[in-house]
């Protein structure tokens, strides 16, 4: 695949504080808050926006089809072009990349990507049911009907293949909840110990309540623009250097057992015995990384990236994703967290915001939330938006955002770069 098109920049962003339930605001109002924040941050108005992409996962949560047009309408963006993009948990990442394509293609000079989910209209168990409808409803839903169960089996297999431990999983939870203590947008910042995580109620063994993200109400907005338009709008845009997208089979059962698609920093002899991806790894995450790294000419991700926001709906998926992204080899993810390499002061801070585990996961908003936090990080404006600079990294030149749908069916990776 060859990427040809105009350079695309992110010029502004906004996020609402995610919470378990905010019944006083509907999804339109929530997006409006994030949208106005983004517009006011760089002093632009409705006339500066050429079109939009709507990002939301499930029509079931509100039993409202075409929620996208209701937001478009509420924001005052009609009659401009817009479309909805959906791909499970990766909806936000896919919508962000669709916004990128709108600008890269030359169709739009500026595009707003808005994401939202209102999950509080049903109780948690019904919510789990709706989410499980995003697994094959002929073969998987009736058997398990529970995504944490599917991920638990993937985590178990990862532990079997590579010796990953539940304590290593717990360390991801500790790190992300702790990072969130300095993020005012986060839903559940916490100081935790390994014991806290392991003694939390078991959801699907080996994953406890603190290995799993929560459901949320929330919205996030990213404004993208062409180079000319971006520098008209702001002195501090962030370049979206490249995008990558991968897919895999809907049913976990259908995943093949083949060879690892290698990154430039790996060789075939690294994985002589490994049958890939099976159910221990996310092949779509690897494919997405390969495409994005190629576009950004990244050959050694650990050395060439400064920050990562990745889709940690489960602690196990964060460890599995270190490997998919080539931060370490397959099998080394457990040690990677244990050695503190992904901590805020580590080799490469992962989920400095607190990730999905601590920020919450209002599905359609999540991938865009990651873009906004990364945008502020690369802009160096964390203090302005968070009210403190504890999560502003010393080196913040190039970042990666990663969005992921059910058991790794759709995965997106986008590379963002500070301009100055």
């Amino acid at each position: 695949m060859k990427y040809k098109g105009r350079d695309v920049y992110m010029v502004s962003g906004g996020v609402t504080k995610f919470a378990k339930a905010i019944p006083g605001m509907d999804f339109r109002m929530r997006v409006k808050k994030a949208f106005d924040y983004a517009l006011e941050d760089i002093h632009i108005g409705l006339n500066d926006i050429d079109g939009s992409v709507a990002s939301y996962f499930s029509d079931h949560f509100q039993r409202q089809l075409m929620s996208g047009i209701m937001v478009q309408d509420y924001l005052g963006l009609t009659p401009k072009p817009s479309k909805r993009v959906e791909g499970g948990g990766a909806t936000g990442g896919l919508a962000f990349q669709t916004g990128f394509e709108e600008v890269a293609s030359g169709r739009m000079d500026s595009c707003v990507v808005y994401g939202f989910e209102n999950m509080s209209h049903v109780n948690t168990w019904k919510g789990n049911e709706f989410i499980a409808l995003a697994s094959d409803t002929n073969f998987d839903y009736p058997v398990g009907g529970f995504y944490t169960g599917y991920y638990a089996m993937m985590a178990r297999r990862h532990m079997h293949e590579f010796g990953t431990t539940v304590e290593q999983l717990a360390k991801v939870s500790i790190k992300n909840h702790k990072n969130a203590l300095n993020n005012p947008y986060a839903q559940s910042p916490m100081n935790l110990t390994v014991e806290d995580v392991r003694k939390a109620p078991m959801v699907a063994s080996p994953l406890t309540r603190l290995d799993v993200c929560a459901m949320s109400d929330g919205a996030a907005v990213a404004v993208l623009a062409s180079e000319e338009k971006a520098f008209e709008m702001t002195d501090h845009p962030v370049l979206i250097k490249s995008i990558g997208t991968g897919t895999d089979t809907m049913r976990l059962a259908d995943r093949p057992f083949g060879k690892v698609p290698l990154l430039p920093n790996e060789k075939e002899s690294d994985y002589k015995q490994l049958q890939y991806p099976g159910i221990h790894s996310f092949r779509a995450g690897r494919s997405a990384a390969r495409e994005a790294y190629k576009g950004a000419e990244i050959t050694d991700p650990l050395e060439e990236l400064d920050a990562i926001e990745l889709h940690d709906a489960y602690t196990s998926s964060e460890i599995q994703t270190y490997e998919d992204l080539g931060l370490c080899k397959y099998g080394e993810g457990g040690h990677f967290i244990e050695e503190g390499k992904s901590s805020i002061n580590g080799k490469i801070p992962v989920n400095f915001s607190g990730g999905l585990l601590a920020c919450g996961h209002p599905v359609g908003a999540t991938g865009i939330m990651q873009a906004v936090f990364m945008f502020w990080q690369l802009q160096g404006s964390i203090k302005k938006h968070f009210g403190n600079d504890k999560l502003q990294l010393g080196r913040h030149k190039r970042g990666l955002i990663h969005s992921h749908a059910g058991t790794g069916t759709y995965v997106t990776v986008s590379i963002m770069e500070a301009v100055k």
Binding site: N138, F146, M202, A204, L207, D254, F257
Partner: protein, 171 residues
């Protein structure tokens, strides 16, 4: 012609539940019966009445699936039905203590990914007849079928084999 300025909507005794007033939060009910077709996968479900678990095999490249799929994802060719062995091994497992509303009354339950000899991919199922701590990867298991079919993939479920029993818990 009817033009009645005194027309009045009929009052009924049906209403809704109100959970809160500010903001106004009410109960909204939704229920539906689908006319659901299993289409090209139908034989998988009907075969379970004959105690047969059916996967598929590619006519062109020979790839064998532990699941029904009418076309091969490896080469795009048509597949044919392939009877899976009745015995397999646990490839991975979990015990669900929570779940979707529909399955909450069944918790805790075990899920397993099953691997079969000579089959290139897996099958997802429930496992019964074992305590959570006694399940392990590689454990030999056997397919059993419900006598009264529900026409659902849970018409097949797995139990530990006699071999697993004689070996005892854990490896």
């Amino acid at each position: 012609m009817t033009l009645n300025p005194n027309a009045k909507m009929e009052e009924t005794q049906t209403g809704t539940e109100v959970y809160g007033f500010d903001p106004l939060v009410v109960k909204s009910h939704y229920e539906i019966d689908y006319i659901h077709s299993y289409a090209q996968d139908s034989l998988f479900f009907t075969s379970m009445a004959k105690r047969k678990l059916m996967g598929s095999k590619c006519k062109k490249c020979g790839y064998v699936y532990g699941t029904p799929r009418a076309h091969c994802m490896m080469c795009g060719a048509e597949t044919e039905w392939y009877q899976l062995p009745n015995e397999g091994k646990v490839h991975s497992y979990t015990t669900c203590f929570f779940g979707s509303e529909e399955f909450l009354p069944e918790t805790p339950f075990h899920l397993v990914m099953v691997e079969f000899e000579g089959v290139n991919s897996l099958f997802m199922a429930r496992l019964i007849g074992a305590d959570a701590e006694d399940i392990y990867i590689g454990m030999p298991i056997r397919a059993k079928f419900r006598r009264n079919l529900k026409i659902s993939p849970t018409d097949v479920y797995f139990v530990p084999t006699e071999e697993a029993k004689s070996k005892g818990a854990k490896h």
